[in-house]
């Protein structure tokens, strides 16, 4: 049975105001089943207030082999971090 079921990625919002975060994946035959399975597998200990599911095949992922060209050029661009500014005292949440 299971070999025919596609893989789904599960995103759960743990509290109102927070963003959905990736919780894990599971198998399901359709979207409704994926939602119910996610509810039973990932939120039975009161972990969430909202669930998104998406079939894994619709997620386009970066290739780890491309990490050099994708991510390393940003490593020496420290001036892109806002660490060179003097923050006024009035600004509290930075």
């Amino acid at each position: 049975m299971k070999k025919d079921w596609p893989l789904w990625e599960v995103f759960v919002r743990s509290k109102n105001g927070l963003e959905h975060r990736h919780f894990g994946s599971l198998h399901a035959a359709d979207a409704e089943m994926a939602l119910e399975n996610a509810r039973d597998v990932y939120t039975r200990r009161n972990e969430g207030v909202s669930i998104w599911v998406v079939e894994s095949k619709y997620i386009t992922a970066s290739n780890p082999a491309d990490n050099g060209e994708f991510f390393e050029p940003a490593q020496d661009k420290i001036y892109r971090h806002p660490t060179f500014y003097d923050l006024p005292d009035e600004v509290k949440h930075m």
Partner: protein, 251 residues
């Protein structure tokens, strides 16, 4: 016992949840797959949670020193008043879903009606239970449609399961003497009033699942009087093993 009828009435509801929960619990580690295994044992835990509230209340009413565990674990077969439907074996996944759905529709009707009881404790238990049972019905109903409107094999198996359990549904609406007295006092639910709506709801889902509504006038009953099928003894043997082998053991 002063409130013997209320005590009997509570046990009549609680025993259905206990025995169905025990049946579902058998699937722990044996579900068709990880996701369904967790879903079905979640439902079992919901049912056990509900039975605890009922048995705690029943123990208080009995007032003879027995605890919720004594009532749940230490009665003899004839003293369990669950309907025959919930004690039927799991057999295959289609049977698990069909049995569950045929019970869930009734159970949700009962929880909805029980919220209007004159008894505050039963109202409180029903208010908590109604959300759990709504989800049970959604789960089993979705699966029923999925299997009915699925492959030729799934359709044939779920139809066979529905046909198999159909004769057990009529007993859900039987009323014992205590049931009748409690309904008259506004504490219990008049089950006969739920019957038409039950078969209407079931028929709608069966149609949506492209399944045939059974046309079988024969019915099987007895559980509500304590006359059980041959399966009940085996369930109780497993359920009661720890308390019978190690009396008074606790977690």
């Amino acid at each position: 016992m002063k409130d013997q009828d209320l005590y009997n009435y509570i046990l009549g509801i609680a025993d259905n949840s206990l025995i169905l929960g025990q049946r579902l619990g058998e699937l722990c580690g044996h579900g068709p797959n990880l996701e369904t295994d967790i879903a079905l044992t979640n439902i079992a835990l919901d049912l056990f949670g509900q039975t605890r509230s009922y048995y705690q209340y029943a123990a208080k009413i009995a007032g003879d020193g027995r605890t919720e565990d004594d009532i749940a674990m230490l009665r003899n077969e004839r003293d369990y008043k669950n309907v025959l439907l919930v004690e039927q074996p799991n057999t295959h996944f289609g049977h698990v879903i069909a049995r569950q759905f045929l019970f869930d529709v009734y159970h949700l009707q009962l929880m909805n009606a029980l919220q209007h009881s004159e008894d505050e404790m039963l109202v409180a238990i029903a208010r908590k239970g109604v959300k759990e049972v709504s989800y049970h019905k959604r789960f089993s109903g979705d699966w029923l449609k999925r299997l009915g409107d699925g492959t030729d094999e799934s359709k044939q198996k779920i139809q066979e399961a529905i046909d198999h359990f159909w004769p057990y549904t009529d007993e859900l609406f039987d009323m014992s003497d205590s049931d009748k007295k409690m309904a008259e006092q506004g504490i219990g639910v008049d089950l006969t009033a739920l019957k038409d709506e039950y078969y209407k709801q079931i028929s709608e889902v069966l149609e949506e699942a492209t399944l045939t509504i059974p046309d079988n006038p024969y019915s099987k009953r007895g559980g509500k009087q304590g006359i059980h099928t041959e399966h009940m003894g085996y369930i109780l043997t497993e359920l009661q093993y720890m308390q019978r082998t190690y009396p008074n053991m606790t977690w």
